[in-house]
């Protein structure tokens, strides 16, 4: 079809978009059907981060850790963990997705960008499902899950997703160049998890540590959603523009690196 379009003259905007849509649809469909062996197996993709959150929240609630804000321990820990989980799982699955789908790059019409974009769409759906499941769970547990500021909560989740996508693109490209990077990145997520302020309140720390922690993009995700959820919570460190800058800069640099290295490393 593409050859046809070229030989016949300039392809129209509609044709280009249709081609893009077809590629994306094919990639998404393939991913959904094959990621865990079968189509229903795709539910595992949702269950994975969800059960991760459930187990950690349950553990902390059972251990009876004190909750500094709000009345519900379940709500506090869910709110603290969800942004990190969204960002982390999105980026990691994007990295893994690109590595797994690498053979598809043999087809000229499929580019690295297509695989990444299909992953972004899938991960957005997964993130939405995870959030819905959490909300449903809270509904069942009779926890008041309404945030103090709904639009801000949605923006915070969007920020987490943006960071996830940015880190996903950048790290996926790096993983194409250095295959070991997948392991390195996955392991470093544990470090990010511990330092992202899920288990502590960054504002209550030493100024020295705070000044280092400020540069932690995941920490801003956590603080953003907390601030949206708990009316009295004022983060001393939250800088939304820094988080958005991280996400956008990561996306941009990922795309630039991909374009610069195209044909040299990526298909090697």
């Amino acid at each position: 079809m593409t050859r046809e379009a070229l030989t016949l003259g300039r392809p129209s905007l509609g044709e280009i978009l249709r081609a893009q849509r077809n590629v994306l649809a094919a990639l998404i469909l393939r991913d959904v059907k094959t990621r865990f062996g079968s189509a229903p197996g795709f539910l595992i993709a949702i269950a994975w981060p969800l059960s991760h959150i459930f187990i950690l929240v349950g553990l902390n609630v059972v251990l009876g850790r004190l909750v500094p804000y709000g009345e519900s321990a379940v709500l506090w820990f869910s709110v603290s963990m969800t942004p990190f989980m969204i960002a982390s799982y999105t980026s990691r699955f994007m990295v893994i997705g690109l590595v797994l789908n690498r053979p598809l790059l043999v087809f000229p019409i499929i580019s690295v960008f297509d695989i990444l974009l299909s992953r972004v769409l899938i991960e957005m759906i997964v993130a939405a499902c995870v959030v819905c499941c959490l909300v449903l769970t809270m509904l069942c547990l009779d926890v008041d899950f309404m945030p103090a500021n709904i639009s801000m909560a949605v923006a915070a989740l969007g920020g987490a997703l943006l960071l996830g996508v940015g880190l996903g693109i950048l790290n996926a490209i790096i993983a194409m160049i250095i295959p070991q990077w997948v392991t390195v990145y996955s392991l470093s997520n544990i470090f990010f998890w511990m330092t992202s302020g899920v288990y502590f309140i960054p504002g209550a720390l030493d100024p020295q540590i705070r000044s280092y922690l400020y540069f932690h993009p995941f920490m801003h995700c956590t603080e953003w959603l907390r601030e949206a959820y708990f009316g009295g919570y004022h983060s001393a460190l939250l800088d939304k523009s820094y988080l958005l800058g991280w996400g956008l800069a990561a996306i941009s640099s990922g795309l630039v690196v991909e374009r610069l290295l195209r044909g040299r490393v990526l298909l090697a």
Binding site: A5, L6, S12, I16, L66, S111, A236, R259
Partner: protein, 431 residues
Amino acid sequence: MNDQPTTVSETPTASDIVAGAGASKGALAKSDGGRPQRGGGMIQVRQGTRGLIPAGLFDVARKVPILWASFILGVVIPSLGAVLYLAFIASDQYVAEARLSVRAAPMDRTPGAGAANALAKLSAGALPQLADQDAHIVAEYLRSRAAVEDIGRMLDLNTIFRRPGLDFWARLKEEPRAEELHSYWSKMLRTSVDGPSGILTISIRAFRPEDARALAEACVRVSEDLVNRISERARTDAVRKAEEEVRRADGLVQQALRDLRAFRDKEGILDPGAAASATSQLLLGVISERGKLQTDMFVMSRALASNAPTVKALKDRIDAMDSQIEQLRGELTNKSEQARTLSAALVRFEQLEIQRIFAEKLFAMAQGGLERARMRAQQQQVYLTVFVPPYLPEEARYPERLAMSLVIPLGLMVLWSIFALTGLAIEDHLT
């Protein structure tokens, strides 16, 4: 708008580099046939669209001019505008800063409470401590509309933020509504509470150094008022309860004393106990006297006739004493018909006495409680200590002309590159 095509055509080499880099790499990887055709298209378009607005946004053949046009429209022009604004239009903004700490006198330091505190601290991890709670309250208040209104009573914010000659972007809009003034205020005000130390930093921006300092001073003053209100309230609340208690105990004491006096007035005795012991002493004396007389009489009745005058006199005295004894006994206990005896009075008196003692104890306790409450209130007192008073800024810290002139183009570049690279990637499907 007319310059735009000429700018594009003047720098064709640069555009070739930007778009060509991606295109050539893509072509290398994928199809070889695409490149020459595409290059031809580009030249064709450049000749064809001179002075025209490009028709299709994603048209492959017009890719390069569109890239450039979007770059100029999305990055160069806004950046230029921002830089020009920052360089020539933006008014200087001065920052005045004040640092305060809200100090509470230390709480009760009994050893048990200390251990419990330490435990609570351990289990709570790095939770914010109670100490900086008050600082948070002050910070929250300064950000609130109430503070804007309180400060508005001291200074005219509308003139301060709308001085003549201020730039259109940074100044307060005309005739602002309360919400708009509040949001403008929160833009100009920065408060931060230092976690462990509880130091509150207030920094406020204004367009004149004196204004900035005046605003910072107003902030400090309203914060001071707020803190005083808080501690006043805490003090009165704690003490009022104790004072009520003291008043009630005092009433009880007064009542008991009144009852006692009424009883004494009615009975005519100050202390039935003392009265009884006096009576019994008297009785004892009379009894012993009578015993002596009886012995005398016994001896005399042996020597004298029973109707001898001495014996008679003795007998009379003994009889008199008998009746006296009888009377005294009756006074003490209720053997006689006399309704009010000393023993009954004693019981009643003791009841009243106990009531009085009880009321007095209660009163003493209440007074102790009041004293403690006063002390605790004194301890709970919150002070605002301004250890860095607002100074007069001499150098304008905002807007950060150089930094923003770099950050804005950079940010726009990042955004544009995402869109441009996405567009190019989508187009790649047709190469």
